[in-house]
């Protein structure tokens, strides 16, 4: 027996005992590290929601306390849109082009661990931005909400990551790297602006408002506004159902794409 035939000695104490969970945790850690070490991903993902909130929620909305809450709710959804779309859409397409995904798929890594790791990275980034946004809202804009509202808001914002990740996955598995980046950018801005995340829909022409109602960002924004105590048209069940339907369609397409992807 030599160095290449002797197995790894079990000297290190493993913090997670279950091998499957340990594998998922390691993969997630690696994915989070990768994302943190990619300035082209980190800077816009973190800076955009903070910057917009500083500008529209605090500086321009200083005389309008409602604006601080409105933008807190909608920019929280925006905070989930970036990591979901870019991490999965452009990220997976780039990994496919580089052959990184090919190597993962022929390795013993379960597909679930790969997807979980990506989702974990998106959630960590979103949570980081959300905590910053909430701090800005409280200490910068003086937003005061009941604890229950904060909790509901956090749940809606974090849950927003899932449909955007699945939408990104559909793009990443079907389109090449540079085209995926272009499409992701277009989708990001379209979903953000037309979904009413950047500015209230009431400033749009009526026909554009009809388009907005078809977008998941509109419904997630509406759910976030309701969680923060703001009022919107339509019940929360209706908004949640639309988001759930969108998520299910994306999941079905992503599942099919994963099974068929020649990587």
């Amino acid at each position: 027996m030599n160095t290449l035939t002797a197995p790894m000695p079990a000297t290190r104490r493993q913090s997670i005992r279950h091998p499957r969970l340990r594998l998922y945790a390691r993969e997630a850690r690696a994915e989070i590290l990768r994302a943190w070490r990619t300035p082209a991903f980190v800077v816009p993902t973190l800076a955009m929601p903070f910057g917009f909130y500083l500008l529209f929620g605090i500086l321009l909305g200083h005389a309008n306390p409602g604006m601080a809450v409105y933008t807190l709710a909608t920019y929280g959804v925006l905070a989930a849109l970036g990591p979901g779309l870019f991490g999965f859409g452009a990220g997976i397409a780039a990994d496919r082009d580089a052959g990184i995904l090919s190597l993962k798929r022929v390795s013993p890594l379960p597909a679930g661990a790969f997807l979980f790791a990506r989702l974990a990275a998106a959630l960590v980034f979103t949570l980081t931005v959300l905590l910053g946004l909430y701090a800005l809202a409280v200490f910068g804009a003086g937003v005061v909400l009941p604890a229950g509202s904060w909790l509901k808001l956090l749940v809606v914002h974090l849950a927003s990551v899932v449909p955007f990740c699945l939408l990104g996955l559909c793009i990443g598995l079907r389109i090449g790297g540079s085209a995926a980046m272009a499409l992701t950018n277009i989708l990001f801005f379209s979903l953000a602006v037309l979904g009413g995340l950047w500015m209230p829909l009431s400033i749009f022409p009526i026909w554009l408002q009809h388009v907005s109602v078809a977008l998941p960002t509109y419904h997630l924004g509406a759910l976030a506004l309701q969680a923060s105590g703001g009022g919107t048209s339509g019940g929360s069940v209706q908004h949640a159902l639309v988001v759930a339907a969108f998520t299910a369609v994306c999941a079905a397409i992503a599942w099919r794409s994963w099974a068929r992807a020649e990587v």
Partner: protein, 300 residues
């Protein structure tokens, strides 16, 4: 080539695969044994990549049967026992060598010690460097490290030493040989015939999706009777062409080159013609000559 008594790690029986109008593999029956290095050779489009992809579960045969490590290719069982180095697969540029290796070692039940693998491939000093900051050769060595870190029963290597300098290439060959000697089945595709000659126990030559030859490198070379004679001589090309058993002749500066089907007969006549010839070299057909010969024969 007759199969040995070694256990089969890959068992392909009459496997065919078509892509549109292209018949990538046609009725291929091939067993890859434990403890041996099998080189899959052939021109571009011969079917090498198609076969490797099927072995890895990246696609299914249209007909025939194929098992990898006794299981369906691409199944969890097959993947857990395999180490793979793909020619076109990169790694995440943001992670360090050690991070990559620890991550991939964690996919396997009984991986090798990461420090040992790093040391064996001369990567210890680079272990904290990010993949994106490595040279092409260093990246290939890490990819090999990742392929072997799970102590695989099957090692699939696609052009493993392309872009490596000769020292790194020899290091990789030694590591691959070490694993094969310990019982790992190695399936190797390469365009570097010196690699196949030096490393492989067995060469399988594919052309047009079919197996054209299957033998040891020496046996393949022996199939080609011709030999190459080279010497310093004043004999002209015309004179040399008339010598017995000469297939063709040529000159560069003071040196005469002759391809002969019977070197002894040619040399006897050559010495008679020019007793003062010097710097004589006689070489057997190379593996490249042998493969060219076999491919030409197949094409004819």
């Amino acid at each position: 080539m007759k199969t040995s008594s070694l256990p089969l790690v890959i068992d392909a029986q009459r496997v065919s695969r078509r892509f549109g109008a292209v018949q990538a593999l046609s009725d291929v029956t091939l067993g890859i044994e434990a403890g041996r290095i099998t080189a899959l050779l052939g021109p571009n489009g011969a079917g090498k990549t198609s076969f490797v992809n099927l072995v890895l579960g990246r696609g299914r045969p249209d007909s025939g049967s194929l098992s990898t490590l006794g299981a369906a290719p691409g199944s969890a069982l097959a993947r857990e026992g395999s180490g793979v180095m793909l020619q076109s697969a990169a790694l995440a540029p943001q992670l360090c060598l050690r991070e990559h290796l620890e991550l991939h070692a964690g996919y396997y039940a009984q991986p090798l010690a990461v420090d040992d693998v790093l040391a064996r491939l001369d990567l210890t000093k680079l272990s904290n460097r990010r993949y994106g900051a490595l040279s092409g050769g260093q990246q290939r060595r890490l990819q090999l490290a990742i392929a072997i870190c799970g102590k695989p029963r099957l090692l699939v290597l696609d052009e493993p030493t392309l872009a490596l300098d000769s020292e790194s290439r020899r290091l990789c060959w030694a590591v691959i040989r070490e694993l094969a000697d310990a019982g790992t089945a190695v399936l190797l595709t390469t365009h570097l015939l010196d690699e196949a000659q030096s490393l492989a126990d067995r060469v399988v030559l594919l052309a047009g999706g079919k197996i054209v030859a299957d033998a040891t490198p020496d046996a393949l070379r022996a199939r080609v009777a011709e030999q190459q004679i080279r010497c310093r001589s004043g004999v002209t090309i015309a004179e040399a062409s008339r010598l017995p058993a000469v297939l063709d002749a040529g000159r560069d500066a003071d040196h005469l080159s002759i391809r002969s089907s019977d070197a002894a007969a040619t040399l006897r006549a050559l010495f008679t013609l020019d007793p003062r010839l010097s710097e004589l070299e006689v070489a057997r057909a190379s593996l490249e000559d042998a493969l060219d010969h076999l491919l030409q024969k197949e094409a004819a």
